[in-house]
């Protein structure tokens, strides 16, 4: 064993740089996989732990107080799947509530307000505050906020929180924070605990709801139970419950909390896989190169009596030593990185409770990587079996080429250095395939990240473009019986307004009759779709006639419908056939696009109930919203108010702003993930090229010395060697880009089309090419140290 260890250590001493580079790759691999897996376990805990710690109910149905009936609770209680129920009163402003954030900007976020007593009916809030009860009691208007307002909103105890509802502003002093699953994040909304007096004050402007909370054994009843209960409520009350009622189920909360964290962690694991593949290719390349380089020594060792297995084991041991050190450092790193990832997960999911680091996945990762490295090294090193001792005396003749001379120098047309590079590329084709695999994977990662980054992080225009809905500057939603036309005409007269488009606010559900079953769908109605600015057909055209509709790509794929097919729509027993005139991109299905005349065929009493407002350039959206809130203050549809005039405004919404607020955590996750992905891809490519170039320089040391003797300068030789990876990189960049486009296409196939910035990708590809060349050029720097005098010692 001692002699094997000696052989391994001698090898390590000879290849210190490659040893360290591979160590870094393996360490990164352990670090990423270990901490990502450990963080996944932590992320898994957030929801159940938060559920346990807050004592929260599992499902919540919030019904406008006017629609609520005490008997609903009995209906729930009698259902066999419902285990426990509770109810509470709460004010819920929905998207009409905004607040002034720490930067002084207005942020639209659904806000609800509840008293401490009512809150206790839904959960056991544990208030985190630095103030005493006495200090709190002295505050005129205090508020306890969900932790998300501490973490993302940057609020602290004692800060002023300014809430806006329609034209009214309310000021509170932040008295503490608490964890809550029900309305405790930016996406679903935030729930504030306020004093009884403030609750009554807010009740004048914010509609009151009754929250019916129930447990169904960790979401066993799911959506079906909710639907059944809801139908029973409507059946009992004999009327349709207002669409402004909303629900939050166990599965929704669990999904929301997990989704963003998983997105980040999946990106990290994908990156780790890229590194694992690179490590495999590099180990194979390193051992093969080393054996070739040392074929004479191997022959001598065999002549001295070393067996193939002993020599193989010495190689395996060398790589196991490297992997062992990397695994130890990587695992230590995991224990430091995982808490950061866990905290990041908490920030992304906007809830606390990731818990501590789980050591098991970290240890298992370390073990797995160690075994993988050992197996790969063994499979490759066993090739020493084919070398007989005679190779020592033939100076490795067995490895010499007798084949065709590729790119003969006599055919040189331009630069002899390029010619040398091409010769080198062809001579090491097998090695270059490995390099191509590594770089291709990294290019896929980088290009994919770039496209995702452009969509998510470079402003939100790209996301808006794939929503499939019309996103004007402001949308005024009306009570369904209102006449949107009158309001539209009035708004159009205002100098700040460029254009208005009456449309539908998704209050009408139409059933699509498909071979796979019937589905409820919402119509998006316009007089003329050519007037829209954010709906784009990706196949066919907009509906123009009253017998045409346009579908989302998602629905078209789902129902296997193509442009030109017919589809039957039904509403209250009336069935009409429509031709699919086009398909559009959309983030989800469930909506279809139809003209006003078209919907009238199916729903004769249909009326527009929403007005899209497009403002002139330079008009501030918030200022204009304030203006129309003031102007139409008597037309607002309040919880207790009656319709005034020809229309009643229910909400004035800036959908873009709402989307941007709701996408904050997703954008953050994507930004972090993509940045890590791109950086690590670059680091991996850099290390691979360094290893490759260092090995090449060592293997061709004598050749370079001869060429220096002939008058080639160090820079020319460095250029030649660096150029020899260029064909591999070009092929990898092209293949990698095409694969990443295919992956993107595959992912978005259901949604429609993402406009890929082709020129940006081309620039990125050129940057990758230059980066690779520079890394390779730098990696060849040891050519400078090669002296012609080395030939003297031959």
């Amino acid at each position: 064993m001692e002699k094997i260890i000696r052989l391994s250590l001698a090898n390590i001493r000879k290849h210190k740089f490659e040893f360290v580079s591979l160590m870094i790759l393996v360490m990164m691999c352990v670090l990423l996989i270990g901490s990502a897996l450990s963080a996944v376990l932590g992320a898994f805990k957030i929801f159940p732990d938060a559920m346990k710690n807050t004592g929260s109910y599992e499902n919540f149905i919030s019904i406008l107080k006017k629609d609520y009936d005490k008997e609903f609770e009995n209906i729930m209680r009698e259902h066999p799947l419902v285990e426990q129920i509770s109810s509470a009163r709460m004010l819920y402003g929905g998207i009409k509530t905004r607040y002034i954030n720490k930067n002084g900007e207005q942020v639209t976020i659904p806000q609800s307000f509840i008293t401490a007593d009512n809150s206790a009916g839904l959960e056991r809030p544990v208030i985190d505050t630095t103030l005493t009860d006495e200090e709190i009691s002295k505050l005129e208007h205090w508020v306890y906020m969900p932790y998300v307002m501490y973490d993302s909103g940057k609020y602290r105890v004692g800060d002023t929180f300014e809430m806006i509802c329609n034209t009214k502003r309310f000021s509170f002093t932040v008295a503490g924070f608490y964890e809550t699953l029900f309305l405790g994040d930016m996406s679903n909304g935030i729930k504030m605990i306020v004093s009884d007096s403030d609750y009554h004050m807010l009740k004048d402007v914010i509609p009151e709801y009754v929250v019916l909370a129930y447990n169904d054994n960790q979401g066993q009843g799911g959506y079906d139970l909710f639907k059944e209960l809801y139908d029973k409520f409507e059946e009992y009350s004999g009327k349709e419950i207002d669409k402004k009622s909303f629900y939050l189920l166990y599965s929704d909360m669990e999904y929301y909390i997990s989704e963003s964290a998983y997105l980040l962690l999946q990106i990290i694991v994908a990156m780790a896989i890229v590194i694992v593949l690179s490590v495999i290719v590099m180990i194979r390349f390193r051992i093969a190169g080393d054996i070739k380089e040392q074929v004479v020594n191997i022959g001598v060792l065999k002549a001295l009596g070393y067996t193939s297995m002993e020599i193989t084991v010495s190689y395996v041991l060398e790589y196991l030593l490297m992997a062992g050190l990397s695994v130890i450092i990587g695992m230590i790193g995991c224990f430091m990185l995982t808490p950061v990832l866990l905290r990041m997960c908490e920030l992304i999911v906007e809830h606390r409770g990731c818990g501590s680091v789980s050591p098991l996945p970290i240890f298992l990762t370390g073990l797995g990587v160690l075994v993988l490295v050992g197996v790969i090294a063994f499979i490759r090193a066993i090739m020493v079996r084919k070398y007989l001792p005679v190779h020592a005396f033939r100076k490795g003749q067995g490895d010499h080429r007798f084949g065709r001379e590729y790119f003969p120098l006599s055919k040189t047309k331009y630069s002899v250095h390029f010619r040398f590079a091409l010769k080198e590329f062809v001579c090491n084709f097998k090695r270059n395939i490995g390099l191509m695999v590594c770089i291709t994977i990294s290019v896929v990662a980088v290009v994919f990240s770039f496209v995702v980054f452009n969509v998510f992080c470079n402003g939100l225009d790209a996301i808006y473009a794939i929503t499939g809905i019309e996103l004007s500057d402001l949308q005024v939603e009306l009570e369904p019986s209102s006449d949107a036309g009158i309001l539209a005409e009035e708004l159009e007269q205002m100098p700040e307004v460029r254009k208005v488009l009456p449309t539908s606010a998704y209050n009408t559900i139409v059933v699509a009759i498909t071979p796979d079953g019937n589905r409820g769908m919402l119509p998006l109605v316009f007089h003329d779709f050519d007037d829209t600015e954010n709906v784009f057909p990706i196949d066919g055209r907009f509906p123009k006639h009253d017998n045409e509709i346009m579908l989302t790509k998602y629905d078209a794929k789902w129902d296997d419908i193509v442009v030109g097919d017919s589809i039957i729509l039904e509403h209250t027993g009336v069935k009409k056939t429509y031709i699919v005139s086009g398909v559009t991109t959309a983030m989800a299905g469930g909506i279809f696009y139809i003209t006003y005349d078209g919907i009238k065929r199916l729903v004769p009493d249909y009326r527009f109930d929403k007005v899209n407002i497009y403002l002139e350039d330079g008009v501030d959206v918030n200022d204009f919203r304030y203006l129309i809130e003031e102007k139409y203050s008597d037309n607002f549809y309040g919880s207790e108010k009656e319709k005034n005039g020809d229309f009643a405004i229910t909400d004035i919404v800036d959908m873009k702003e709402i989307m941007s607020t709701q996408l904050v955590s997703t954008v953050f996750a994507v930004r972090v993930g993509v940045s890590i992905f791109m950086t690590l891809s670059a680091v991996v490519v850099m290390i691979i090229l360094f290893i490759l170039m260092e090995s090449s320089v060592r293997q061709r040391r004598k050749e370079f010395a001869i060429m220096k003797g002939l008058g080639y300068t160090s820079h020319q030789l460095m250029f030649q060697l660096a150029c020899c990876i260029v064909p591999s990189v070009i092929i990898s960049v092209v293949i990698g880009t095409l694969i990443s486009f295919a992956v993107i296409e595959l992912i978005i196939d259901y949604y429609g089309k993402v406009n890929i910035d082709i020129s940006g990708v081309i620039v990125l590809d050129i940057v990758i090419l230059i980066f690779c060349f520079l890394c390779a050029f730098t990696g060849t720097r040891k050519i400078r140290k090669i002296s012609v005098c080395e030939l003297m010692t031959e």
Binding site: P408, T713, M792, E794
Partner: protein, 253 residues
């Protein structure tokens, strides 16, 4: 007397190894003349190869100067030395040092293309030179390990002279060859010299040294003797050999 092409002033070369310094060349002053076939001789470890490498810009002196014409090449950077070598020098090594990954033709072309642009004239020149040294067309596509040592050295010579160097350096060019191959190789050197090529060659073989017209003897890193001969001719072999042998005997050979 021919004009000087290369000269040294107080040339010193010292190697350090584990704290001990070995002064291989000591304050050496030497002049190499254009058109001469200068042979450097000396016992093992006398510093003859070190001197050759210092003269040719393969290595930098520790102290002193090496002048190519009026140009001080001892002050050149490594890359400047490479340019100097490509423009003015050709090399023939004892171990031949052909590029094993390239065939015969490309080995020569590697030397040619470092200085010249590829052209039909260049290709023709390579072909002619190869034929001239006895490397037939059938061998052009062969790799070095498919050739004999003598054949390889002949290819090495063609590679060295393909750019018409002003001075050709040779370090024991027959050292690794059998006597027949060695003779063939030296015939080529003689032919080159008779065509006016300046040659500086290191050897410890008297038969090889006889091809030169000036023999410099080195001992302990210093020039201790010089012997001049007429141009090589097969007719006066005996007197040539005796004269050189006498000189070497005096030098303590």
């Amino acid at each position: 007397m021919n004009s000087s092409i290369l000269h040294t002033k107080k040339l010193c070369k010292t190697f350090s190894n584990s704290g001990t310094q070995q002064h291989v060349i000591k304050n050496l002053d030497l002049e190499i003349y254009k058109g001469d076939f200068t042979v450097i001789m000396g016992s093992s470890g006398s510093g003859k190869t070190t001197l050759l490498y210092a003269l040719s810009g393969m290595d930098k002196p520790t102290l002193g100067k090496v002048y190519f014409g009026e140009e001080d090449i001892s002050a050149y950077s490594n890359d400047e030395l490479a340019v100097f070598r490509r423009n003015h020098c050709g090399f023939v090594f004892q171990s031949i040092h052909l590029l094993e990954s390239m065939n015969v033709f490309d080995n020569v072309m590697t030397g040619a293309l470092v200085l010249q642009k590829n052209s039909p004239e260049l290709i023709r020149k390579v072909e002619e030179l190869l034929i001239k040294v006895g490397i037939t067309k059938e061998m052009w596509g062969k790799y070095p390990n498919q050739l004999s040592g003598g054949e390889c050295q002949r290819v090495g010579i063609v590679r060295a002279v393909i750019n018409d160097p002003q001075i050709l350096f040779a370090d024991e060019p027959t050292g690794s060859l059998n006597s027949a191959s060695g003779r063939d190789v030296m015939d080529i050197f003689t032919q080159l010299h008779s065509n006016g090529q300046s040659i500086v060659m290191v050897t410890h073989d008297v038969r090889t040294a006889m091809r030169g017209n000036r023999v410099i003897f080195i001992s302990d890193g210093a020039v201790v003797g010089e012997y001049k001969m007429p141009l090589y001719s097969k007719d006066d072999m005996t007197s040539r050999k005796d004269g050189l042998q006498n000189f070497l005997d005096r030098m303590g050979w």
